[in-house]
């Protein structure tokens, strides 16, 4: 009996398990995952004494996605445009932190360190962006972007090297590196810290110097004074393309996928598994570092210690990647979804008469958590899938 199909050995890598999961359900399972998460969320809304449908509708309008509807009034459209710009501003780093997790997954690694890499990238970007006065704009931006990416790559590379040399579990090391990044960042911009601003008027504010005009990313939609949409979105979309090409059309990507699915076979065919771990983590870090960079150059223009402690975008990347099935297209859509959720439940965008934004923010976190939880139960989905197939055609398998 040749039942090798869909037969997962108990020590299957994460990547192999996810591949089976994806094969088992196509795009249907992520949609079901999402539906269940939203149903649970709606239940909680109901319990707090609100109308879930009205709440979700208000959140949706808060995302600005109603801008695409042809029938809304021109007044609504103006507001929707502003909201949509916000959603896409958040989507931009989410795409990248999602890729930082997805790329690692494809190599069988679990990168929990997106948050730390995001911070390090931002720190490098704000430092380069606020220094070097008088540089031509394009050069300045390029310099800051490269610095941010290298910073993130270096930070994640530490975890890669530890894994390759000493076999340190990357989950543990990236979590620890997150904390080191958070507290180092805190120190850098805190009062008296080496990167605290040099403006005498802001001596008591724990914030960096402002990014110079020459390093700011141009805004292409909306008013630059009102936080319009910067061109970072295009860079993030280009990164999706880079991710796909890297993975599917380069020898590096071929190695990464081989190692991710079966490190033993990869090694036996001459692929250096250790080297791949380092390279992959560095690439992931570059993605996350770019996320931090674009936020700094695109709309934040400075980093306060407060930002470092409250930022969650790196962590959201895990849910983005899981829901997006570690593919380029999936990552784009799930980044848009979480970008919409974050914006739609924010104090600024959600109609407080329908649902208090303070509660709604928690709703976003809850949906994020549920998505991770549900996707992590892939074993259950695979099991159900196999049961169905067994009933339908165990003989077909046998005859194969």
């Amino acid at each position: 009996m040749s039942d090798v199909d869909d037969e997962l050995p108990p020590d299957a890598t994460v990547a192999a398990r996810l591949a089976t999961y994806v094969r088992a359900g196509g795009v249907v399972t992520p949609l079901i995952t999402l539906l269940v998460a939203f149903l649970f969320g709606g239940l909680v809304v109901l319990i707090t004494g609100h109308d879930p449908i009205a709440t979700y509708k208000a959140i949706f309008n808060g995302t600005g996605l109603n801008w695409f509807f042809p029938w809304i009034s021109s007044e609504d459209r103006t507001i929707a445009a502003l909201n949509l710009q916000q959603t896409l501003i958040v989507t931009t780093p989410l795409i990248l932190t999602g890729l930082a997790v997805a790329f690692a997954f494809r190599c069988g690694l679990f990168n929990i360190g997106g948050q730390g890499q995001y911070i390090v990238g931002g720190v490098f970007a704000v430092w380069v962006g606020s220094s070097f006065e008088g540089l031509p704009s394009l050069l300045h931006i390029l310099l800051a972007v490269v610095a941010g990416m290298l910073g993130g790559a270096f930070w994640a590379g530490i975890a890669g090297v530890l894994k390759a040399v000493a076999g340190t579990n990357e989950v543990i090391s990236t979590i620890m590196l997150n904390w080191i990044a958070i507290w180092t960042g805190n120190y850098l911009f805190n009062l008296g810290g080496p990167l605290q601003n040099s403006n005498p008027a802001q001596k008591d504010v724990p914030v960096s110097n402002d990014v110079l005009e020459s390093a700011k990313l141009p805004v292409f939609w909306g008013d630059p004074q009102l936080q319009g949409l910067h061109i970072g979105l295009f860079i993030a979309v280009a990164a999706l393309l880079v991710f796909w090409v890297l993975l599917n059309r380069t020898t590096l990507g071929y190695e990464v996928r081989a190692v991710g699915f079966n490190p033993d076979a990869a090694q036996a065919s001459g692929i250096s598994v250790a080297r791949n771990y380092v390279v992959v983590m560095a690439v992931c870090g570059a993605f996350a570092g770019l996320a931090g960079t674009l936020d700094v150059l695109g709309w934040q223009f400075r980093i306060a210690t407060n930002d470092i402690q409250t930022s969650q975008l790196g962590f959201f990347g895990i849910a983005v990647a899981l829901l997006g099935r570690n593919t380029a297209v999936g990552t784009f859509f799930s980044a848009l979804l979480f970008g919409g959720l974050i914006t739609g439940t924010s104090v600024r965008n959600l109609d407080p008469t329908v649902f208090e934004p303070a509660l709604a923010t928690n709703l976003t976190y809850m949906i994020q958590g549920l998505v991770v939880l549900l996707v992590s139960t892939d074993v259950l989905v695979i099991w159900l899938w196999r049961l169905r197939r067994k009933r339908r055609s165990s003989a077909v398998l046998e005859a194969a």
Binding site: V4, N248, F261, D264, A265, I271, A400
Partner: protein, 509 residues
């Protein structure tokens, strides 16, 4: 009593959609008989047994136990009727003791608690009665595979099995363990238990069975008594055409040495010496067999040659190039091909499609990539040629390797490794788990490669394979080469050497 058979399957037909897994199969099992069910992978053996065990309902036909028609709607009903099944993959709880596993589901109780004493006592009784040696208090996880299998058999007997089904029981056993199992089966037979023995290994079937029923493509071909049956006649029944069991090969005059090991020693994963002072030569145009019982250092030796394990001492030379300290890539580049002993672990990336798998050795060469960019088109084109040349069935270049049958997966590995134009081929258990037709193919290819002037190191646990393919045979025991023998030597002579008898004393470290 004696006139009605213990079990009778009459005209069993089982369809799955358009596919007919069993077509009007008749099968009769007498009391105190070992009846082998023989057939290639996919011949319908497992389906038939699943019907018997209540996992499938037949579309047509009936099942009779002791002459009475029964309907078996579930496996618990099957157990209730005295049908026991020992699966290929054991269904034991590793952390529990043998006695606890045995009574699981029907525990003797003392109040709400398990009456362990009674459980252990019953286990002892049963194991004595049937001559199955197991320690009731041992934890299953500490037992060897053979002993675990005995526990499975005991459990079936504990539940009152009078008909015992063993699904490819020897697949996981060493040759010695298989012999032990056969002893157990003979003892059970003497006790009156009726046994169905599923296998695709001809020599085993001839060894242990009283009668043999052959299935092919879901249909019963014939039931024959063991007397008068030969490997050849059974193979012909199984495959439906004449099969070359004996490998046809001419004598050979070996050329220069292509793989040369000098005093190589290495440790296993626990740091214990596994390969001890091994020196050997594989010359152009010869097949050198490495015979030995499982876990006598063969795997570690192969890994050391392939650069997957660091040797403590010694030198390894491939076609004049010192690869003692080279990694896998350099070793492969020096002209070694490796048919891995476990194709799922080292031979294939099951999640990759066939084109990608076939490119594993060469994805970085100009054949498939340029300046770091790979060309899937070229991979697919190459795959198309290779799949045809090596007669891989059931797969296109875009098919996932994991969805192929074992025999075709092995053909993919062999296609990749032989296409690399190697000087030396390390073939480790190249026919493990394959059926007769595929074995014939692999053997023929290896001889062809030999004739083309390559050197082949054949590592196998199957003595038949070693003896029929090799030009000379080295015997490995506890990591040491203890003898060199001509392949014509008797199985007994090999057996003695492989179990440590007649150990060479000079050169022993």
């Amino acid at each position: 009593m004696a006139d009605s058979p213990a079990l009778e399957l009459r005209g069993i037909t089982k369809r799955f959609g358009p596919l007919v897994a069993n077509r009007s199969v008749d099968f009769e099992l007498r009391r105190g008989e070992i009846h082998a069910l023989l057939g290639e992978n996919g011949a319908g053996k497992s389906t038939l047994m699943n019907v018997l065990y209540g996992l499938h309902q037949p579309d047509e036909g009936e099942i009779r136990l002791d002459g009475e028609a029964v309907e078996i709607r579930s496996s618990s009903r099957a157990i209730g009727l005295g049908i026991g099944m020992v699966h290929q993959h054991f269904m034991l709880v590793p952390v529990m003791t043998v006695a606890e596993n045995l009574v699981l589901g029907a525990e003797p109780k003392k109040g709400p608690l398990l009456d362990y004493k009674t459980a252990a006592e019953r286990t002892r009784e049963l194991s004595k009665r049937f001559g199955l040696a197991v320690d009731p208090d041992a934890r299953v996880q500490d037992l060897g595979v053979g002993a675990q299998q005995r526990v499975e058999i005991l459990r079936a007997l504990f539940r009152g099995a009078r008909v015992l089904v063993l699904d490819e029981p020897t697949a996981v056993l060493t040759a010695q363990e298989a012999q032990d199992l056969f002893e157990v089966l003979r003892a059970l037979k003497a006790e009156g238990t009726a046994i169905i023995f599923i296998s695709h290994k001809l020599n085993e079937v001839l060894d242990v069975a009283d009668r043999i029923t052959v299935l092919r493509r879901g249909e019963k071909v014939d039931t024959v008594p063991r007397e008068g049956a030969t490997e050849r006649s059974l193979a012909t029944l199984m495959v439906g055409r004449d099969v070359l069991l004996r490998v046809e090969k001419d004598d050979t005059t070996p050329g220069e040495s292509l793989l040369s090991l000098e005093g190589v020693s290495a440790r296993d994963d626990r740091g214990l010496p596994a390969v001890r002072d091994v020196s050997l030569d594989v010359r152009a145009g010869e097949i050198v067999g490495l015979a030995g019982i499982d876990a006598n250092g063969q795997s570690e030796l192969i890994e050391t040659i392939m650069g997957l394990r660091r040797p403590d001492e010694g030198t390894i030379i491939v076609a004049g190039r010192d690869v003692t300290h080279a990694g896998p890539r350099d070793t492969l580049a020096a002209g070694v091909s490796h048919i891995a002993e476990d194709r799922h672990r080292r031979g294939l990336v099951l999640e990759f499609d066939l084109a990608e798998n076939l490119a594993l050795r060469e994805y970085k060469t100009p054949a498939f990539s340029k300046r770091g960019f790979i060309s899937p088109k070229k991979m697919v084109a190459r795959a198309r040629t290779l799949l045809k040349e090596f007669d891989v069935r059931g797969g296109e270049p875009e098919t996932r390797a994991g969805s192929l049958s074992g025999g075709n997966q092995q053909k993919v590995v062999i296609a990749r490794e032989l296409n690399a134009d190697p000087r030396v081929i390390i073939a480790a258990q190249p026919t493990r788990g394959l059926d007769v037709g595929a074995i014939e193919f692999v053997h023929r290819r290896l001889v062809e490669e030999r004739d083309a002037g390559r050197g082949v190191l054949l590592v196998s646990l199957e003595m038949e394979e070693i003896r029929s393919l090799s030009d000379r045979v080295l015997v490995i025991y506890e990591g040491q080469i203890v003898a060199e023998m001509p392949p014509e030597s008797s199985e007994e002579d090999f057996g003695v050497l492989m179990t440590g008898g007649g150990r060479r004393t000079e050169g022993a470290a």
